[in-house]
């Protein structure tokens, strides 16, 4: 059995603990640093597009997501965090991401 298997969600080996440096997580720091500035939103969407949809996101969808994100406030850390999550949500909702070709 693999020790410290991070995919073990069911607690079958609950006596094991996963060291911090082996835990799987999503690093939001770059996404957050881009999400607070309306002028950088297109870079943010580009980056998510490259990471998840191989840069195939259509211009229309790209612009739609950028314009939508501007409607969401970016007044404090919570706002910015939520903006970043919505950016990811919308890119991951696109057929370009979901259909691998």
């Amino acid at each position: 059995m693999i020790r410290n298997d991070p995919t073990d969600e069911k607690g079958l080996y609950s006596n094991e603990s996963i060291p911090d440096n082996e835990k799987a997580f999503y690093d939001l720091s770059i996404t957050l640093s881009l999400a607070d500035d309306n002028d950088e939103l297109h870079i943010l969407v580009d980056r998510l597009d490259m990471l998840s949809a191989h840069g195939l996101l259509s211009d229309a969808s790209h612009n739609l997501i950028v314009e939508t994100l501007k409607e969401f406030p970016a007044d404090d850390a919570d706002d910015i965090d939520e903006r970043a999550r919505i950016a990811i949500y919308l890119v991951l909702s696109s057929p370009e991401y979901l259909i691998n070709r």
């Binding site: 739609l64 919308l90 979901l98």
Partner: protein, 432 residues
């Protein structure tokens, strides 16, 4: 795979075999032919203004249903006791009035008009049976052709259901009614394929699932509409934004609208186009379902907190707004898991049978409250029965089981059950 050739005589023989309750879903071939005939005559369909629904409860794992029904007569009970040994409950034909109700789980309690008793954990089902609202179909399972007895079975030469005694195969065959085939299309799905054109509001399927994707409700075209048991008018659809936004309502709308706009764009790739259409249909379905849920009348019948009771509660709500969902024919599906008792059969069942029994009683009461008790039929299905013999308080996978049918149609089933009671004797013959 070659088509199975059968003569007309053979076919009719199997059909009548099914009519005494030996084959799952009661000879679907014949019933589907009837639906097909109806569907081919538009003038009949125009007159369909009543409502009917089927509820299918899968007791997944293969419930030991020989502990649900037991012969009452002393000699036959003794026979059962000799066979089942540690799996037979203590027999008290007349439970002591005023005794500790918990103790009743160890007893069988009498059913009126038949020579059988029912597990003491199912007082609700006992009452439903004694008032002709529920019946049993005994010795029912997957079957390709009749097999007379154990001798004939051991002699071989008969077509047996594919993967007999295997959970996945038998669950599949209970749902598609084809014991000779591993078909992905279920009975409810086939019915929906034939009747879907008679129903309005295509965004919501005739088939509503409270257990995600399932074979029973999958047709060639028809799919199930899957919901969770905690769905309400205010808790449906995609996850919303945190409520600390001052204008979260507007922002939620914006988010969902944009997600839909992305999906509505023209996509050259067929998969992308199909994904876009399907997902957008689900957004529309959410709105229709949300509006319908808003019209659910108050239902005063109390439901327990168990998952099964809550599932049936939601089904009752769905039925109360069938007109708003554009349906006068509906099929519901859910699963009650955990019946694969390879250990501690009696103990485990004493916790689970009351859950099933109470849920059925509550659901029936809600149907009466909604005036739907004659229109809704509930059936239980399970992978298979379990061996009569005991292996250290456990039973193993077997074949013919005892299932329940509840609702307006169950009255006629009471007579059919009496007919098929003989087959319990056959089951005993099979094991010895």
């Amino acid at each position: 795979m070659s088509k199975r050739k059968i003569s007309r005589r053979h076919f009719l023989g199997e059909a009548s075999c099914a009519a005494i309750g030996s084959s799952t879903f009661l000879s679907t071939a014949l019933n589907l032919a009837m639906i097909n005939t109806v569907a081919a005559r538009p003038h009949i369909i125009e007159n369909i203004d009543d409502y009917k629904a089927i509820v299918c409860i899968l007791l997944a794992g293969g419930a030991d249903s020989h502990n649900i029904l037991i012969p009452r007569h002393r000699d036959r009970y003794q026979e059962c006791l000799d066979t089942r040994t540690s799996l037979a409950l203590n027999h008290r034909p007349d439970p002591i009035p005023g005794s500790d109700p918990d103790l009743l789980y160890d007893y069988y309690i009498p059913l009126n008009g038949v020579d059988y008793d029912i597990n003491g954990g199912m007082t609700g089902v006992q009452q439903l049976f004694n008032s002709n609202k529920i019946s049993f179909i005994s010795n029912i399972s997957t079957l390709i052709e009749p097999i007379a007895d154990k001798v004939a079975y051991q002699a071989g030469g008969y077509k047996l259901p594919l993967g007999l005694y295997s959970h996945s195969d038998q669950i599949m065959q209970w749902q598609n009614s084809l014991a000779q085939d591993r078909s992905a299309v279920g009975v409810g799905g086939k019915i929906a394929d034939l009747l879907n054109d008679t129903q309005s509001i295509p965004e919501i399927s005739m088939n509503i699932s409270l257990d995600g994707k399932n074979r029973f409700q999958s047709g060639n075209q028809a799919l199930e509409y899957a919901i969770k048991n905690n769905v309400t008018q205010n808790n449906i659809g995609v996850e919303g934004l945190p409520s600390w936004y001052s204008n979260s309502g507007f922002l939620n709308q914006t988010k969902d609208q944009v997600a839909q706009n992305i999906l509505e764009a023209e996509y050259g790739n067929l998969f992308q186009k199909t994904y876009g259409t399907l997902t957008n249909n689900s957004y529309e379905a959410i709105e229709i379902m949300q509006a319908a849920l808003g019209k659910v009348p108050p239902i005063n019948t109390p439901f327990s907190g168990t998952s099964l009771s809550q599932v049936l509660f939601l089904m009752a709500k769905m039925m109360s707004v069938q007109a708003d969902l554009g349906k006068n024919r509906q099929m519901f599906f859910t699963t009650f898991r955990g019946w694969d008792h390879h250990d501690n059969v009696i103990g485990s069942q004493s916790g689970m049978l009351p859950v099933l029994s109470n849920a059925l009683v509550e659901f029936y009461a809600a149907l009466v409250e909604l005036g739907l008790e004659e229109k809704v039929t509930v059936i239980t299905v399970s992978d298979f029965a379990r061996t009569l013999t005991s292996d250290d308080n456990s039973s193993d996978h077997a074949w013919g089981s005892n299932q329940m049918i509840m609702g307006g149609a169950a009255k006629r089933w009471t007579d059919i059950w009496k007919l098929s009671c003989n087959s319990i004797e056959q089951q005993l013959q099979f094991v010895r």
